[in-house]
Subunit: 378 residues, 2 copies
């Protein structure tokens, strides 16, 4: 289907841009000599994941057991569930492993480790558990020097549960915007995770995998000694937040929302779009960054960004397109953006915007599109 015939709002994937993003990340990982395990929470779409695996990815990372179940059903077996597991979710994890899924779990506390050990013993299962390491203080995990690290390792190892490795995610990289700061955080992420692995090994606990990553640190890493694999998610599409972080150009962003002009408030200099926050998501991730893109950057249908304009406001199904200069008035808004005109809006955060849609329209270089399903829920 041609773009002109797709009903709006719709989530578009620019396939050539996506393939370029995939090749860029995989090439960097190959150069650094580490395996790459993409985080599929960004897309929840088997068509995208197949392209990542075709380019060289080894296994995937998921953020929910529903992702693990869906991608295992689609033929992917090597899966890291990268959220510290709630003990009540262990039966679902067991069911996946019993079906032959090489599912790895994550834990960052003694209570859940003990629950895994008890459940594993009860069911005659070793599991494969990775310990989450906190290398930047932004969320969960155990810092490399904490005693809890060895405590968790011992609870697992001494009760017959396989300790498969350590993993960390330096998500505070999203708050940076210089190459130097990103390279420094990438090194901090690497060094902290390697240090945690060494402490475990020194204590007699095997720790084969050392897994690090976030899109900005993965792209900024200059060497990854001691690391076995890297994880990243949003790089496959990129978005305006990543553009502000400095790891992609606007022209690299592969996800956009197709929208139609449905009205004007000429005295305010507004064009009204049929893409509101239900389509763009409520993510305002650029609001604290160097360039605030509002609810998104409008582009022509061919992908050219319309400098000087932004989606400045959003209701559930209405977007407001106006000047991106504070207080500036666009006198000829109705002439520039007539009723029925279609635009592509680059999103702040590809993970959040994609999640608003049950499907993507994946657009080839020739302008034809096919539908790629994505799924929702837990």
């Amino acid at each position: 289907m041609k773009l002109d015939h797709i009903d709006t709002p719709a989530a578009l994937i620019d396939i050539p841009r996506m393939q370029k993003n995939i090749a860029r990340m995989q090439g960097h990982m190959n150069t650094l000599g580490v395996a790459f395990r993409p985080h599929v929470k960004t897309t929840k779409c088997i068509d995208v994941v197949r392209a990542q695996i075709a380019a060289g990815a080894r296994g995937i990372t998921v953020s929910t057991l529903k992702e693990a179940e869906a991608f295992f059903a689609a033929g992917v077996s090597d899966i890291l569930y990268a959220v510290s597991i709630a003990p009540s979710k262990l039966p679902r994890a067991l069911a996946l492993r019993r079906q032959g899924c090489d599912l790895k779990l994550v834990v960052d506390n003694p209570t859940a480790a003990a629950a895994i050990a008890a459940f594993a013993d009860q069911h005659g299962e070793t599991f494969d558990v990775w310990i989450e390491v906190d290398t930047d203080g932004h969320r969960s995990g155990i810092t490399p020097e904490q005693d809890t690290l060895l405590e968790v390792g011992r609870i697992l190892h001494e009760n017959g549960v396989k300790v498969g490795g350590v993993m960390t995610h330096a998500g505070s990289s999203y708050e940076l915007h210089t190459p130097e700061a990103l390279a420094a955080l990438a090194e901090q992420e690497r060094a902290g995770c390697v240090r945690a692995a060494e402490r475990l090994r020194d204590a007699g606990i095997p720790c084969p995998a050392v897994s690090v990553g976030s899109t900005p640190t993965a792209l900024a890493a200059e060497q990854l000694d001691g690391v076995t694999e890297v994880r990243a998610g949003v790089y496959v599409f990129f978005d305006l937040v990543m553009h502000n972080v400095g790891v992609c150009a606007l022209e690299d962003i592969a996800l956009s929302v197709l929208a139609t002009v449905i009205g004007h408030q000429a005295d305010k200099g507004w064009a009204i779009l049929d893409a509101g926050w239900m389509a763009m998501s409520r993510d305002r991730g650029t609001s604290k960054q160097p360039h605030d893109f509002g609810y998104g950057q409008p582009c022509l249908l061919n992908g050219t960004p319309l400098g000087g304009f932004m989606v400045s406001g959003a209701n559930q199904e209405h977007g407001i397109l106006s000047s991106s200069e504070e207080g500036a008035h666009v006198d000829d808004i109705a002439q520039r953006f007539p009723i029925g005109m279609k635009l592509r809006i680059l999103p702040n955060h590809a993970c959040a915007t994609g999640a608003q849609f049950p499907e993507y329209h994946a657009v080839s270089a020739d302008g034809n599109s096919v539908e790629w399903r994505r799924f929702q829920g837990w």
Copy 2:
């Protein structure tokens, strides 16, 4: 299913609270002597809509043609599509009317009105078009005194299209928080919409319906002379934004997200939940209101709000529960919120949070729940 057995995160509807909210709004409409047409964009769930209709609602309001198609298929025929229509969507609207759906369209500009008239003529269809009136300057619509109002009316009427009425939505009511201000805006909304209808009638254009509404103005309205019907959506669940507006108690909020404690950062005073922004949505609607609830208000499983705590931060699948006092540290966080503990989180914005889930778990007074599907997309 009992709450304890529902996997997390999950969207819960408290059925007794929902029924109370439905009865409250319908009772107020009955007292004011107007029809009530609930906006189903909040729930996108036929089970909820059936409860609204059983209580006395006449017809529904939708924000997308997909809602119109889904609810018509489920047996609802009187449907107002309350977004100014993009001309490219007219074939879908025609298909619905040809199947017997009493679908009403909305328009707020001469270009789309002319496109409707041309399309109607081409297909031998009169349609039923309501003109959107702008009574508070917050979004789309034509102000009551603008010449464009009569121009749009004439384009429709003189070309054989039925002008079914006028409609307005005083969405700026979400920014208010005193009964006096809400009552004043409700009167402004009423008077502006009635004035627009009178101008059309004075010009010889029939205008049977006069439709107004938003949850806050609907509840605050003291008299609705000249109005034929009211629309409101979020009242069915309410949320923290509505609580800040002053139209509901925390104990009225019928939607919550069931979450599990999966970790701690004790030195920071944090408990980590398995409900992040993918579950709560990125809506931070309370951030500019008198009380900022972060990403949500934690409650015990029985619904009792946990004063002094909030979900202060969110990653995609991680929520951070901490003190709601800036800078305060909870020393015994791991004791108060042990691993595996389940909580209910009240959301900022029920429309946004509900949209993150493919289903609700609707919980009866006896604690048993059933699954109610909702749909996604356009």
